[in-house]
Amino acid sequence: MTATISPLSEVTRSDAALRTFLHGLPGVDRVGADARAAGLGTRSIKTTAKAWAIDLAIRMVDLTTLEGSDTPGKVRALCAKARQPDPGDPACPSVAAICVYPSMVPTAAEALRGSGIHLASVATAFPSGQAPLKVKLDDTRAAVAAGADEIDMVISRGAFLSGRYLEVFEEITAIKEACGKAHLKVILETGELVTYDNVRRASWLAMLAGGDFIKTSTGKVAPAATLPVTLIMLEAVRDFLDTTGRKVGVKPAGGIRTTKDAIKYLVMVNEIAGDGWLDPDWFRFGASTLLNDLLMQRTKLATGHYSGPDYFTLD
């Protein structure tokens, strides 16, 4: 892997080099980026295209529960839902992954055994990331040891916002190493980075440090995922592939609740990054309530009528 990112290996040599590189990326014009995202949001996806998009979106869901009140019972119920989102229709695909806190990983690993569904755990003192590096590394190793094959880490926004880019870079590199074979998703928490220029810089920083995915949000900070922020991250992974030959995935998370929203994201993936990203290996939705809306719309398309929310399982 390190060989493929060699074109940019020089830029992470020092804090100054990294700053020069990140601040040398083309700027983002907020008004223009918002307009582009809104424009793509007007695409009209109907009939066969809609059916295809809904099934893909289901396969891209990281079904998530990240609450203080999570229990093994709750997590088992969610895993059952992940395996068979629509008990009434065996043809309905299962989701991409379950996403839980580290303490719930053993339970989820047990419940998902043999399903092919990925098990993601948040780690690194999620959601604030305000803990010593050693704690973050232990957090990560424990989750991986317990069976997580995907780690959703948070970056230190404090360090990023104060310009300590190399510190953020080294932290991600260390976590990546602690992940071993587990895939690393790097949560930028774009709601705290605020500017689109920051989102672009943080995206590149996370990719340079070896992140396999870049993810918008923890879901604990408003705003969470937005279309324009995801647009900028999709541009970043597209440009990063062009520059380095390495492909990185994107995961918007938090606030995506409807099929309509999910389809807007897929349109954006298609027209910004390209259809190479229209795959659960390269694009995910971090969501919980979204799944039932996708199932309802799926049934509506197939049968021609809406059934009430009581026909879809709550977990």
Partner: protein, 476 residues
């Protein structure tokens, strides 16, 4: 082919009730004309309706009706009363927006998403805006008691049929003038639907008259001795004829003509948004835009990167059925315009510029031209100087801000320009030196009724829109 194929998403035509034939709208009634011609859909060449052609005598009837309405009703009506009619028209346009949008796309060939999201809402906004001025004219800065001019003869183009109608009629009526308007020969239908809206709004007969026809009808209107004011939007060639025709008369005139706008991208621009701006600048409305950013001036140090991004973006443009909600680029408005675009594109290739278009399937029937860019263009090439009025972009490069300004201004036109830079001081310094009526910074083709619009040099004279737009219809 993408894995994500968007299924057809056509806007329904059923909201539009097309009549087999349409008359002239004179004195509040639809009446027969001397002759007739057919109007078609440029996307399919389907005949949509038979349209009356106004003769010199018909135009005379219309001008007489407008004069009567001016003398008897409209010219002396208090502004606050005129405003009520204009507000009513604005509301009806908004209420019937879907019908107007579908009809506009059918007759013009522009994508429904543009007629729906740009043309029709802006047309309504113009009426709302000028309705607000009707009772405040003494405060517009044109004297304590500005008076209307009388009868306005207005000739509009086919690229934004309803919107150009609104640009012309709204300020004229707000100022107390009555109008005779001739829509373009190829796009009369929304103007005729607007005539119906005038009836629906109970606008007094004769205040708005619509005479359909071709160049001769326009000439009859412009040359009519009882017209006090001529307003024209269209080609510089016809603008010259009109300027000659009104020379030596008492007619006031405003002309909004061609352009060859420079869209200048500096190396510190937000590249992704600049690419969007370039696409919007030249492919919006198939490039049938007088202020289109048809000359891209890009700083050499970022030219390769920018062109690569631009080509990738162009490959996602969806060309086809104007009524499909996912269409980005629609049909060329007429066979005549298509052959003009083709001829200039041929000249571009012959002069040595490199031509590129994304792979795109064009429909068999109708008038179509794939989005095209020419690279390696220099100032000496005809495609860098002449207005193509189609989806064709000429790309030139520059090295320094001074060179960019020099090249941008080195044209007989001066309607609009664009500047892309993240550096505010550079934007202000460059904008100050561009000889163009509208300069957009980090955006392009943005229109608003409050903003004046008009050109330098051969792009015309007079301003439309905003407070400035009232001046053309008032005597101080």
């Amino acid at each position: 082919m993408s894995a994500f194929e968007y299924a057809p998403a056509p806007e329904s035509r059923s909201i539009v009730k097309l009549q087999p034939s349409y008359g002239l709208f004179i004195d509040g009634e639809f009446t027969d004309g001397a002759g007739s011609f057919k109007t078609i859909s440029p996307a399919s060449e389907e005949v949509l309706a038979e349209i009356a052609e106004a003769s010199t005598a018909d135009v005379d009837r219309a001008v007489k009706a407008a004069r009567r309405a001016y003398t008897d009703v409209w010219g002396s009506m208090p502004g606050r009363e005129r405003a009520k009619y204009l507000f009513r028209i604005a509301r009806i346009i908004a209420e019937r927006s879907r019908e107007l949008a579908v009809l506009e796309s059918l007759n013009n060939g522009k994508p429904i998403k543009e007629s729906r999201d740009v043309d029709v809402p802006l047309a309504a906004a113009h009426f709302f805006y000028y309705a607000g001025w009707a009772d405040k004219l003494p405060y517009a800065g044109f004297g304590a008691d500005p008076r209307p001019l009388g009868v306005a003869g207005q000739v509009i183009p086919w690229n934004f049929p309803l919107l150009m109608l609104a640009w012309k009629i709204a300020p004229a009526l707000a100022a107390g003038n009555t109008v005779v308007l001739k829509p373009a020969e190829t796009t009369p239908l929304t103007a005729l639907l607007f005539a119906e809206i005038c009836q629906q709004a109970d606008l007094p007969p004769g205040v708005v008259n619509i005479v359909t026809g071709a160049g001769e009808t326009g000439a009859a209107l412009v040359n009519h001795p009882d017209v006090d004011k001529v307003a024209f939007t269209g080609s510089t060639e016809v603008g010259r004829i009109i300027a000659r025709a009104v020379a030596g008369t008492n007619k006031k005139v405003t002309l909004e003509l061609g352009g060859k706008a420079a869209n200048i991208v500096f190396d510190d621009a937000a590249i992704d948004q600049a690419v969007e701006g370039i696409v919007n600048g030249i492919f919006f409305n198939q490039g049938h835009v007088c202020c289109a950013g048809s000359r891209l001036l890009v700083q050499e140090s970022v030219a390769d990167q920018l062109l690569e991004s631009l080509k990738r973006r162009m490959a996602t443009l969806r060309v086809g059925d104007p009524l499909d909600k996912n269409t980005d680029v629609g049909a060329i408005n007429s066979a005549e315009q298509l052959s003009r675009i083709k001829a200039l594109a041929e000249i571009g290739s012959a002069e040595g510029a490199e031509r590129w278009s994304p792979a795109c399937e064009l429909p068999e029937r109708g008038f179509w031209f794939a989005p095209t860019i020419f690279t390696g263009v220099s100032q000496a090439h005809r495609i860098a100087r002449e207005e193509i009025f189609g989806p064709v972009l000429s790309v030139l490069t520059f090295r320094t801000p001074g060179e960019a300004i020099e090249k941008a201004n080195n044209t007989p036109y001066g309607l609009s320009a664009g500047i892309w830079s993240e550096k505010g001081s550079r934007i202000l310094a460059v904008a100050d030196q561009l000889r163009a009526g509208v300069v957009w910074a980090n955006t392009f083709n943005k229109f608003d009724p409050t903003s004046p619009f008009g050109g330098y040099k051969e792009s015309g004279y007079g301003r439309e829109g905003g407070r400035h737009g009232l001046e053309a219809y008032l005597a101080g």
